[in-house]
Each structure stands twice: as structure tokens, then as C-alpha cells.
Symmetry: C2
């Protein structure tokens, strides 16, 4: 997620070999390359799994030199975390929901979550996450880390209740299941329901998990 401090010009000039003849016109190290690498990584992780996905294959798909991938992301592990970064920032959604009104928190969380996942290009992350997590223990560990740091941590901190991490987990179960059924499984009728409809139906569940009586 963090980006090296050096400018793209410097990267392009000092670290990256120029596109070589016979390699199909690799992109130079412009800022667009970073996005192309992330997109290529999501595709490779989703189609090949964590073990089989290589920096070399990701670089080839992004049409950049492998050295640029290493420069931007360092290790395959770090690239995995960056590529699968959630399209939502739970901390921000949460802050927004609290500002809008604590009784609308559940609806805000559900709407923001669905809106972020709706674009088809974001769904490939879900497939990549699940595929890597089901096939590789290291990827599963990274996923757990990502969820703890970017999802459950911020929500737990914001809630500030003794059972906040359990509440955050419960919200996770509902939202992950919704994403799996709607975007991965495309199970009907949930796949064709609108975001508005789902917000009304699932919002109260999330609201209770966050602020209601659990026991």
C-alpha cells in the first residue's frame, strides 16, 4: 500500500531496464505501470493461485520489466497484499456512518460495501482472495492479517466496546457471505437484487451486530 518515495522518473531512469526488443513493447516506468501491475497481479492470483503466480508472469501481463515490480512492491507477499487491498476503507465508512447518525450505521456500512464491490473489475479481487486462501496457507495468513489490520481493527477501535472485535467479526461474516453469494456464486435472486433492496434487508443485521444486544 505504501509507495516508495522516489519519483517515477527516477525509477524509470535508474532501476528499470528499457523495454527490450522481442518482448512486445513493455511499458516504461510511468505511474500507470503501478496500476497495470496491480491489475495483472489480481488476474494472476485469481487464475493461477498464490503458489503458481510469479512476479515474472505478472510483469509480462502488465508489460513491464520484472525489476519494476520488485521496485514498487518488493516481495510477492507485499504485492499480494497490495493487489488484494479492499476496494473499501472500512475505517472511513465507519466514520461516515457515525457522522450520518449511529442508527443508520448498519445501512451505511452495507451500502458502502456493496457499492465498492459492484464494479466487475473489483470482483476479481474476491475470486483471487478466495482462490489463494483455499490453496495456500501463507496466502490465508496474509488474508487474515489484511482483515485484522484494515477491517476488524478500525471497526473495533471505532466502536470502543469490550466485545468490539467480536462485533466486527460478526459484521464480517454477513458481508463476506453476501459477497460470496452475489458476486462469486451469482446465486439468484440475491444476485439481481438492487443495492437499495439489499441495504434495507441486510442493514438491520449489521446494525445489531455493531450496536445492538448480542446475547
Amino acid at each position: 500500500m505504501t509507495r516508495p518515495a522516489s519519483s517515477d522518473g527516477g525509477v524509470s531512469g535508474t532501476r528499470v531496464r528499457p523495454a527490450r526488443a522481442g518482448h512486445g513493447g513493455r511499458r516504461p516506468g510511468t505511474s500507470g505501470a503501478r496500476g497495470a501491475i496491480l491489475e495483472a497481479a489480481r488476474h494472476e492470483f485469481a487464475t493461477s493461485g498464490y503458489d503458481a503466480a510469479t512476479i515474472r508472469a505478472i510483469a509480462a501481463r502488465a508489460e513491464v520489466d520484472p525489476a519494476l515490480v520488485h521496485h514498487y512492491f518488493g516481495t510477492k507477499e507485499a504485492l499480494f497484499l497490495a493487489a488484494l487491498e479492499l476496494p473499501v476503507r472500512p475505517g472511513e465508512i465507519f466514520a461516515h456512518g457515525m457522522a450520518t447518525g449511529p442508527d443508520q450505521l448498519g445501512a451505511t456500512v452495507v451500502r458502502s460495501f456493496l457499492t465498492a464491490w459492484e464494479p466487475p473489475e473489483n470482483r476479481v479481487r474476491l475470486v483471487a482472495m478466495l482462490r489463494c486462501a483455499t490453496t495456500n496457507d501463507a496466502a490465508m495468513g496474509l488474508m487474515r492479517e489484511l482483515l485484522a489490520r484494515d477491517v476488524f481493527g478500525p471497526i473495533t477501535t471505532a466502536l470502543g466496546l469490550p466485545d468490539a472485535s467480536l462485533r466486527a467479526n460478526l459484521v464480517g461474516t454477513q458481508l463476506i457471505g453476501l459477497a460470496v453469494m452475489r458476486y462469486l456464486g451469482r446465486v439468484e435472486p440475491i444476485a439481481s437484487a438492487t443495492v437499495d433492496e439489499l441495504t434495507v434487508m441486510v442493514g438491520p443485521t449489521v446494525q445489531r451486530y455493531l450496536t445492538g444486544k448480542l446475547g
Copy 2:
């Protein structure tokens, strides 16, 4: 799921070649072989994915002749559905819940679902399902069929409400997400919560999805 009418003795006598020397003592076609094939199939689908899993490899792992696999299950597709058969029978759970008391339906469904998935040997089905569904469109189609026939169909029929299939889908989102977080991701603290605790926390969600006001 259906089993051929012919007896195991007949199978063993007429369709299955005897264990061959040099193949490590394959099991004869006893009734235990069917279970061994299913267990082997779950392992192969979970570790290799749908495409790479072969009848030959499954037979080798089960220590039976490939002909016996074909005899019991016919196609790889049918074997996949049989191997991934849910460890719960939603129709039965539902009937039991309605008998116990309609206001306890959510709690009964959650408790039965969790109890069925608790044994570690059942979790491999979850991994196999998700791995195959994320890597193969045909497997995803089969999964969708399985859910429609064995989960959403029976619940929809039992509920008998105009929006019953949507309600069944919503229950599915909550339970699938719970299984993914607890059994696949082993995310804490939900992974260490007891079945009793989860039943109390998640039961009301399922209850509302089944019988409550959704809009």
C-alpha cells in the same frame, strides 16, 4: 447421492478387477469403498481443483479400481456433487425447527448448521467447494445447482411465502459467511466462539430473514 441397486457383492464380482499386484493392495468393492472414494474425492477436489482432479487419482487415493468409481458415481460431475453433499439436510433442520417452535427457527438453523460443520473432516468440503468454484465455471454451476436443490429449494417450499427464495438466499449469505470466517479463515475471535455463543448471536439474524419484516 443415489446408489446403484446392484449389491456390493455383484459389483465386486462382475465389474471390478481384483486388486493387482504392484498397486499396493487396493480395497475390494465393499461398501466401505464408497465412503473411501468420497473422502478421496473431497481431498483431490480441495487440493487440485476441479479441472486437475481425475477419477484415476481419486481411485488411487481411495485404493480402489477406477472402474469402481465409475460404477458408483458415473461421471466426474456426479462424483463432485456427491462428494460435496452438504453435511446438513436443510429440509430436515427446517422441519425440526418448525416443530420445535417457529420463534426458535433461527436458533435451530444456526445450531444445526454449525454442529454439522464442526467436525474437521467436514471442513475439507468447504475448502473443496470454494476452491473448485473459484477456479472452474462448471464447478460453480454445479455448486449453484446443489444450493438451489438441497438448500434454497427446501427452505423456500417450507416457508411458502411470496419472497421465500429471497429469504432463503439471505439465510445463505449469513451462514456461508460464518463458515468462511470460522472454518476457512479461522479468524479470531469468531473461530474460538462456542456453538452456543454463535447460536445466540446469529440466530436472531436468521430468524428475521426467515420470518421477520425485511423491508
